[in-house]
């Protein structure tokens, strides 16, 4: 027999598939952690996986979620987007987890999205990204563009930057981020004097850096991800570029990456919502716990902090809802004001778009590969994934995007 055809009423079919199998009867609750432990992205994602374990341990020590201890199922996304999709489905239908935490690249999130939407699961995504997305089944605890990219641009404008060169990895986040940067730069009167992409798995940036040298920009906006950053930084210094004359502002170089560049990067900048150097009430304890945690890298950073937030945010959501049920959790997100005293400060969940408020900070790298904060947003920035509050973002694009997504 054949199933539903296009045009049939599919609401029943969809719902029946998504009948949840989560078992809430026992003293534990199952959660899924989905990170690339192998393959190219393991370079970044292992730390996120590890901090999720730490958060779970902490929550368990302090009594669990709704009195239930977290029992996590760790899955390997293997730096392969279909694997992310498959494992999401497995976690939801075979392991019957109540929620999934993980992912790093936007591609992995885009692979997970249709699956959690189809099965009505929950996915907590902890990395800064390009925005223009908001799924009822995903919670975004990393920055959207108006919390990282736009502050960075504001900072550049405040420094009187006139010309900017865009260097990025060749995939969805840098491409989209740069599209947005170009729109905003036009508004700010900053001229984009070049735009270069290199595949994620390629390190050699010498030819592109030669172009940067020739273009003589005031600043370089770096959206490179992963170890390709190392190649970029090396080529940058090889070519005689210096932070004094041609500084870099990055959105993917944090405390963990900075010392791994093989060249001191002192004087360059990064835009994040969290830095280890941040002076908040909660940060010292977070740093201390992390340093003590087995296999920790010894430094804290924004993506891992966002991952740490994600688990606590889930705890607050469930406790507000009084249930692990997805619809109940989503309803609680809307009806309650969910907050968490995060290491970056007290973040608040936007129940409509599932993003959180975040402070914007620009840090300058010092000799200890820590960041001296040189600029901060005056207050926490409310998440605005579709940039609705920004008139320079063309409404027709927004409309088309929302339309295409819906």
């Amino acid at each position: 027999g054949c199933g539903a055809r296009a045009g049939d009423d599919t609401s029943t079919a969809g719902a029946s598939a998504a009948a949840s199998c989560v078992d809430t009867s026992g003293s534990t609750i199952k959660l899924g952690f989905l990170n690339s432990l192998t393959g190219g992205m393991a370079i970044s994602e292992k730390t996120v996986s590890n901090v999720l374990h730490m958060a779970a341990d902490e929550i368990n020590t302090s009594g669990g979620i709704l009195g239930k201890k977290i029992q996590y199922v760790q899955e390997d996304g293997a730096t392969d987007w279909p694997t992310f999709a498959e494992k999401t489905e497995k976690l939801l239908t075979q392991d019957c987890v109540a929620a999934i935490f993980g992912g790093w690249t936007s591609s992995s999130r885009k692979a997970v999205k249709p699956v959690v939407e189809k099965l009505n699961g929950l996915f907590f995504y902890p990395v800064q990204y390009e925005g223009l997305e908001s799924s009822p089944n995903i919670y975004y605890t990393g920055a959207t563009t108006n919390q990282q990219i736009i502050p960075a641009m504001d900072f550049l404008a405040s420094k009187g930057v006139k010309t900017l060169f865009l260097a990025g990895s060749d995939y969805v986040f840098p491409r989209t981020a740069n599209a947005i940067i170009k729109l905003y730069a036009a508004k700010l009167g900053i001229k984009i004097v070049g735009e270069e992409y290199v595949p994620l798995d390629k390190d050699d940036w010498t030819s592109q850096v030669a172009k940067i040298v020739a273009a003589k920009p005031d600043f370089i906006f770096n959206t490179i991800n992963g170890s390709s950053n190392v190649g970029f930084v090396k080529a940058y210094y090889d070519a005689g570029l210096t932070p004094a004359k041609t500084p870099i502002i990055s959105v993917s170089i944090a405390e963990e990456e900075a010392p791994a560049m093989g060249h001191e990067v002192t004087g360059n900048y990064a835009s994040w919502n969290y830095f280890q150097s941040l002076k908040t009430d909660t940060n010292p304890k977070f740093i201390q716990s992390w340093k003590a945690y087995p296999n920790s890298s010894g430094v804290t950073s924004d993506p891992m902090e966002a991952a740490y937030i994600s688990l606590y945010l889930y705890k607050s959501l469930v406790e507000a809802a009084g249930s692990f049920d997805v619809n109940a959790v989503n309803a609680a997100a809307k009806s309650h004001t969910i907050t968490f005293d995060a290491p970056e400060g007290k973040v608040t969940l936007d129940g409509k778009n599932h993003h959180i408020s975040k402070p914007g900070h620009i840090g300058q790298i010092n000799a200890n590969n820590q960041f001296d904060i040189v600029w901060s947003s005056d207050k926490f920035i409310e998440p605005d994934p579709y940039l609705e509050a920004y008139d320079w973002f063309p409404a027709d694009i927004r409309k088309q995007l929302v339309g295409a997504a819906g």
């Binding site: 199933g3 055809r5 432990l37 392969d80 591609s107 249709p114 295409a404």
Partner: protein
């Protein structure tokens, strides 16, 4: 002289009943006993198995180590994915394209994939034409062995990089996903998922039957002859390039079919599924199962797929080591793959007895022929 006659037909029956058994398992038993998740996974393994059957033909029988089957896998997969994307998008330009150039129309090469018929034809014709041209160029110039392997691998890398870097045209590194319909059927519907699985499984059976006929035909012998002494075949009046071309094109077609079915089953296609690592993984299954045997490639591909899903879950670091060791151990100690094991055991058991006329097993003959 007639005494040899029964032999091929006897093997024929053995092989045919093997295929029949396989068909029953895949088409009747599996849907009845497996959960949706595992049935879907099995469907994915079937797609790899289809490609693997083709690799068995080209590599196991034809000696062409095709390290870039991802290229043909991609042709089928992307043709299918483009159609499904358009089917999902309706009259709109697909969502991912909007951002980079909101006002630009659909790229011209997407347009024909609105048509279901064109898409199905493309899945067959594209790999045949591409493999035909590529194979003709390479084989006529007598490119073979390691050169052929590395060239095809380089092609897979090049295509994967090209797709990654054309984000608006192809979805880039993120790939194409989020398909709602499959030729008018709602993909989320479990009943339709089973149907899609059954199509993939049936196609696998068809491919097995096809190579079975190839292997027992004179062409199969000629192919082996070409593998072993290409120049000599020339002096028998054949053009080895043509013989290899046929095997190469057929294997490309199978890869394309596997790729096409992969898309509705897995729900996403990305350049990583067609690049160097993916192409090598396809080879791994074939080597593991037995490159020159009939069932080996399919079973090997399924085993590797299963290993990845299950061991890769429970023990991700370990799985990478296991996969690595699998290559080493199988190639080192069992070059004819797992399918040669029965014959090996039989040989070990037989030796002390020194029977003058040992019963010939299909697998053993396979081994001699390989």
């Amino acid at each position: 002289m007639t005494k040899l006659k029964p032999l091929p037909s006897l093997r024929g029956i053995a092989a045919l009943s093997g295929i029949a058994m396989f068909a029953v398992l895949l088409l009747a038993v599996a849907p009845a006993v497996l959960s949706d998740h595992w049935l879907n996974n099995l469907g994915k393994y079937c797609c790899w198995a289809i490609a693997a059957v083709g690799i068995g033909l080209a590599w196991g029988r034809g000696g062409m180590l095709v390290m870039g089957q991802g290229v043909f896998f991609a042709l089928g997969a992307y043709a299918m994915a483009m159609h499904l994307t358009l089917e999902t998008a309706g009259d709109r330009v697909p969502g991912f394209m909007v951002l980079y150039d909101p006002l630009a129309p659909l790229p011209a090469f997407w347009e024909p994939f609105r048509s279901a018929g064109f898409t199905l034809a493309a899945i067959v014709v594209l790999p045949v034409v591409a493999a035909g041209i590529l194979g003709y160029a390479l084989f006529k110039r007598r490119v073979k062995g390691a050169y052929f392997a590395i060239l095809t691998q380089a092609l897979a890398v090049a295509l994967a990089t090209l797709i990654s870097s054309t984000i608006r045209e192809t979805g880039g590194d993120t790939g194409l996903s989020d398909f709602k319909f499959f030729f008018g059927f709602v993909l989320n519907d479990p009943a339709n998922k089973v149907m899609v699985y059954l199509i993939a499984a049936a196609l696998l059976i068809v491919c097995l039957l096809a190579v079975w006929q190839f292997y027992r035909s004179r062409f199969g012998e000629l192919l082996v002859a070409t593998r072993d002494a290409e120049e000599r075949v020339r002096f028998l009046g054949y053009d080895p390039a043509n013989i290899k071309l046929v095997a190469f094109v057929v294997s490309a077609l199978m890869a394309s079919i596997g790729g096409a079915m992969f898309v509705p089953i897995v729900g996403i296609i990305t350049p990583a599924e067609i690049g160097a690592a993916a192409s090598i993984l396809m080879i791994a299954g074939v080597a593991f199962g037995g490159r020159a045997s009939l069932f080996g490639p399919a079973l090997g591909a399924m085993a590797v797929g299963w290993g990845q899903s299950s061991l890769g879950s429970t023990w991700p670091d370990g799985w990478t080591y296991i996969l690595g060791l699998l290559f080493v151990v199988v190639i080192l100690f069992l070059p004819s793959g797992l399918s040669s094991l029965p014959a090996r055991f039989a040989a070990i058991r037989r030796r002390p007895a020194e029977q003058p006329t040992p019963p010939i097993t299909a697998a053993e003959l396979e081994e001699v022929r390989a």
